[in-house]
Symmetry: C2
Subunit: 144 residues, 2 copies
Amino acid sequence: MYFDDFEVGYRFETGSKSLSEDEIIAFARTYDPQPFHVDRDAAAASIYGGLIASGFHTLTIAFELILGADVWNEASMGSPGLDEIRWKKPVRPGDTLRVTGEVTEVQPSQSRPDRGRVIFRYDILNQHDELVAYYYAIQLLKRR
Amino acid sequence: MYFDDFEVGYRFETGSKSLSEDEIIAFARTYDPQPFHVDRDAAAASIYGGLIASGFHTLTIAFELILGADVWNEASMGSPGLDEIRWKKPVRPGDTLRVTGEVTEVQPSQSRPDRGRVIFRYDILNQHDELVAYYYAIQLLKRR
């Protein structure tokens, strides 16, 4: 889908992906080695009561799922940014994540007639349909 | 440092990290396989004129550097969210990134006297001191 194909309220859903404890620890060892992401015992003693995924891990998996849905990929010119990322519930080993996307704004470029911005709200849900995180993404898309 | 040790305007700098082409492609293959992140030829033909790092890769490297600076790690209770992530310039193979952090807000918790929120603005800079990205992070920290 290209810029012109989107309107406010358009929705899509991604596939899903499960996270193992090993994957949570491996990602966090490199990018976010806080004790509650990499150390099972320290995590059990923390306010989280057990290992939880790095919030950055949750975001990157969500983005992997969003690209896998292949909704706007062909028209993508990248993204200038994200807004209001909020982590609402911990993601734990064995959880299965999926994402719903909804268009909240559609802005043709004032200066460049070949492109526009579509703003998506992405809700990241677990296998209990609980919201674990959400964010808004500004997506630069080619026009038809 | 604990919540009580921070005031608005407090600044710190991280170490630096270089990104190879292989690292850029490996990260993007898993999390962000858009052509301009994983395919040298497609990237050359894109608006970016060559391979660029996934914005999520830039963010995770920045966070790795921030944790490496070990400023608030001991007091960390995690983060509820990030605001206004903006990618300003492409990050290319061979670039070296570093981060400057500055406290923009300090908010003791109203309901829980053992903690507070510190908001940091993080600027991600390359080896030419160009701003490649910035964001605001809400950091939950224990009080002394």
